[in-house]
């Protein structure tokens, strides 16, 4: 193997630039620009030193000494204290996409729950509270909200099922708003630094993994409820599990498309 000319030992400028490269923080572009600036500076200083009569090694040593430690060029360690703007934007986009998709999935769970509710009733969707945990006033409120029902437990189940559907709808609408915000931000931040701040497909992979974990947890809870409570209250985890599984599948398809699009060659 032949040694590259720039790898020759004893070149103080190359050594300095190597140390600077591993010290600099910031985006790849910022790092490249700072390296190019500092190299031009050092070469100028060497030329000036040699014009003044120094040998090249002495001129290099003087240029490096006058430049000061690499930490001075790198400045405060902003990379640790404050991520680059591009990375912060990309993380914000990732969080917005996953968060919005999560809320939309909860909205989807509400849609899944509606036919379950129609087919199997309130008791399948939500489980009643233990008898000692509610008061007569609670019963009166539930009964008032469910005209034609005379049983406190039936009114409670109808109330809780209604709450679940209402909250799921609200979450779905919030998720759609979040997605609109995500697409608006993505159009605004489509510079290359932001797009390449994280590996391609990071958001999709993270979203798929989180949704898959949520689906497994919900299906596990639903299955356990079927076994131990004869299905009472199993509808909620079933519907959430189905929505999470759909979200995981959508993220997985998006990940596959992203990886195909960005595959080299």
């Amino acid at each position: 193997m032949t040694r590259h000319a720039a790898d020759a030992p004893g070149d103080a400028i190359e050594d300095y630039l190597d140390r600077l490269l591993v010290t600099l923080s910031g985006s790849p572009r910022q790092v490249r620009h700072t390296l190019a600036e500092v190299e031009a500076h050092l070469r100028d200083a060497v030329a000036e030193g040699m014009a003044a009569g120094l040998t090249e090694p002495d001129a290099q040593a003087q240029a490096v000494r006058r430049m000061g430690p690499v930490t001075g060029v790198a400045g405060p360690r902003t990379g640790l204290a404050r991520p680059s703007l591009a990375l912060a934007r990309r993380l914000m986009l990732t969080a917005a996409l996953i968060g919005a998709a999560g809320f939309v999935a909860i909205g989807g769970a509400g849609l899944v729950a509606r036919p379950l509710l129609a087919a199997k009733g309130d008791a399948f969707l939500t489980a009643p509270w233990p008898q000692a945990s509610y008061t007569r006033a609670d019963c009166a409120r539930w009964l008032a909200g469910t005209p034609g029902t005379h049983s406190c437990v039936a009114a409670m189940l109808a109330d809780h099922a209604g709450d679940f559907l209402l909250e799921a709808t609200a979450a779905g609408l919030l998720g759609l708003l979040g997605l609109a915000g995500y697409f608006a931000l993505r159009r605004r931040w489509r510079d290359r630094a932001t797009l390449t701040a994280l590996p391609a497909g990071t958001a999709e992979a993270l979203g798929a993994a989180l949704a898959a974990v949520a689906a497994v947890a919900c299906f596990g809870t639903a299955f356990d409820t079927e076994m131990t409570q004869r299905g009472v209250g199993a509808g909620e985890p079933w519907s959430l599990g189905v929505a999470a599984a759909v979200a995981a599948a959508v993220f997985a398809v998006a990940l596959r498309r992203t990886l195909r699009r960005t595959r080299p060659g």
Binding site: E37, A40, M67
Partner: protein, 121 residues
């Protein structure tokens, strides 16, 4: 002059140097040394974080160009930088004038002289 003491005024000095015309990092350092008559000695690398910070604050703008066969980043003062320079220079004049008034006239036998590189502390 001690570089720690200089750092607090580096932004003002860099903007002042660039107010005389655009320049790359090495030129900026050279002009700073020449205009201070060699008094301002600081590790040359420390100007780069300052230049980048000033550019981030839109007080400087930069563009890449090839000068003397080398690719260089040329900095220039922006209109916002010129305004900031005027304001900071005025503040500095007020401050240094106040310090000078407090210090008063040098005592008999003491001569004020500019601090030069290599001069005894």
């Amino acid at each position: 002059m001690r570089s720690e003491r200089l750092k607090g005024h580096l932004d003002l000095l860099l903007m002042s140097v660039l107010s005389r015309g655009p320049g790359h990092g090495y030129e900026v350092i050279t002009r700073l040394r020449e205009r201070s008559d060699g008094a301002f000695e600081l590790p040359e690398g420390t100007v780069y974080p300052a230049l980048h910070r000033l550019e981030e604050a839109s007080l400087l703008a930069s563009a890449w160009d090839v000068v003397s066969g080398r690719r260089r980043r040329i900095y220039r003062l922006t209109p916002a930088g010129a305004a900031a320079l005027a304001e900071q220079a005025e503040q500095w004049r007020e401050f240094s004038g106040s310090v000078a008034r407090v210090l008063g006239t040098p005592a008999a036998g003491v001569t004020w002289r500019p601090l030069r590189r290599g001069a005894p502390a």
